[in-house]
Point group: C3
Chain length 285, copies 3
Amino acid sequence: VAPRPITFLSDYGYADEFAGVCRAVIARIEPGARLIDLSHGVPAGAVRQGAVSLGNSLPFTPAGIHLAVVDPGVGSERRAVAVEAAQDGRILVGPDNGLLWPAIERLGGAVRAVDLAASPFRLDPVSRTFHGRDLFAPVAAHLAGGAKLKDAGEEIDAATLTRLELPQARVGPGRAVAHVLHVDGFGNVALNVGSGQLAGGFLDRASASASASPSDAKQGDTVMVQAGGSKLRARLGKAFADVPPGEAVLYEDSSGSLAIAINQGSAAGRLGVAADDEVVLSPGG
Amino acid sequence: VAPRPITFLSDYGYADEFAGVCRAVIARIEPGARLIDLSHGVPAGAVRQGAVSLGNSLPFTPAGIHLAVVDPGVGSERRAVAVEAAQDGRILVGPDNGLLWPAIERLGGAVRAVDLAASPFRLDPVSRTFHGRDLFAPVAAHLAGGAKLKDAGEEIDAATLTRLELPQARVGPGRAVAHVLHVDGFGNVALNVGSGQLAGGFLDRASASASASPSDAKQGDTVMVQAGGSKLRARLGKAFADVPPGEAVLYEDSSGSLAIAINQGSAAGRLGVAADDEVVLSPGG
Amino acid sequence: VAPRPITFLSDYGYADEFAGVCRAVIARIEPGARLIDLSHGVPAGAVRQGAVSLGNSLPFTPAGIHLAVVDPGVGSERRAVAVEAAQDGRILVGPDNGLLWPAIERLGGAVRAVDLAASPFRLDPVSRTFHGRDLFAPVAAHLAGGAKLKDAGEEIDAATLTRLELPQARVGPGRAVAHVLHVDGFGNVALNVGSGQLAGGFLDRASASASASPSDAKQGDTVMVQAGGSKLRARLGKAFADVPPGEAVLYEDSSGSLAIAINQGSAAGRLGVAADDEVVLSPGG
């Protein structure tokens, strides 16, 4: 049987060999497993941002073993886990700090889970600060090779897995108070509100006219975006080039979130926002 | 038949999962295709820099499918294309914004091309802002697996492909007005002039003496480099260590361009130049 | 016979296609060889930092061909070498500038070595500034494919390989004068002293109480860390979360070095240190 593919996401960054050493550990145990690096650029210790990124990615990956490490509590009492999701027998491997939770939810919930602390697959010795190398990567490799989940650790109640609490947007008539879910490398700002949540509200007018050229746009097609002391007038649209360079567009991004971008610029820079900051949307402006 | 290899270059950067998700989409469609990441560090939206990088890279890669995404106009009316080049049946996949052009030229020109907008290989739905994931990656994967180009989209006239206009250097007797083609991560500055273009001029003296130690160098072996308000005296040489640390060398770089480096330093930082800036070379100094 | 795996570490960074082009050259020569990127984030020209990183990584990789390029003297008279280590027939390929030395030592020393300057496996022509592409990568690929070391270049005396001189820590009673070996992307500071070297000294008290909660810690469990004009009081511990967020911990890191971290912060930033800086440790504070 061919080994299952392994996806790998972490906050190890690119300055060091941390991600590379995990790749090496996997290659040593299961040389034939295809390893797909999703990203190692999650900001250091940013569990929530890693969780969002993982949840957005997994629906596009092959079903397999999904290794994720953003683990500021490594070496503390937080659990290390492997979790089987309902869909496709996918198995997620990582710290039980909420990182895996949105992905688990998208994959139909957790079917079963094991605690990896005393996993027979771990390297010996296990360092206190690099569980990616010593615990998570070897477990992922063995699972990719066909090992059973129950043999990877001690069974735990899947209902006890740590959930991720994300801030909730409040959408009222003509006004939405949202939060920054993610800022990407282009400076685009994803909000914790889907365009569907705004249906029946002021965004309805957008879908009717968004495909028109900017010069055809009606007054109602603009939204005032406020964050901290900054204000930005954004046009409703579907793609960056729907507005002239340097202007702002409010659109549904590729993960289904409402997002703000500056065509050929950085919306995050202009608004001065980072993950979790509050953003208020109101029509017109 | 084994799938063809896929090379992948983009401006998706390393902070996000964008490149990783494209890798995942490819692995899902064509698990056996070898994927070679060329770079995802092209500056955001820098079509010209991505084009230069792609053109310099492809002659060293296996023949296969060559995926490239630097696409500030994603979701607008710019075309998405797959282009077969004259050499080795190589196929380039990406936006028709000039990004692919220098590579196509180096590979003997375009033999045929298709518009991918309604490609049967695209994911459904196609987002408006992430064609790498939804359009280009799946098309590349299917082509790697043996799909025919004509089945990937609607045939278009290859003569209509967007060309990249690069600034042209002016080389006169004893003076060359060039432009910065590329600044690499070491701060080395590649110019849009090949050392061959300066043959018969002041650079001839260089080749005769460049292998001599710096202390043997004659007065004529130096070149004055001017950019903006900055001036730099560079010695003609072949490698960084031909000059002492902190000094400048003018040399033919690994892609055949004339380039300026500071041994163990940054020439771009010293000169204060970026891509497209004008640089004037004159002998002596 | 299946090709041997190749690991790859360099200072090529992620802004350019340099590492990608080397990957492509390898894939062209030996398409079936598994390539494991360890890191390309070694600071430009930082031979010592690359050497430490390579030495820490290789014990965790599959045995194979180990390509490493941090090469500020490329094109000068420094030798290009391939070196067979005592363990597992591993072969290291790179510049003979000390980069390979700590790894060679960890792998039992050098058994034999060849000079690659005129290797039959090199590309033609060989550029003067990109030996990764033109010399090291093709040699690594051929060796992975089964070529013999003696056919890769001209045999040289392994005793003449360049060694890396690292600064030595001075450990006295109640005081250790160490140096920064490495700063990682999280800002954790590894020192050139192992926790074993401090046995019998003030660090013994740490191991007894480190698993206790910080509030239980005795006065003797703290260490004063001095670097330049900065002072930092660190608690002895085993993992980041052994101290509250924003506080410092002195621990044995995953490569066996004594290291300083700030829980959820940057110790390097707080101390203002970089590689090779002197750090003085004394008990209490």
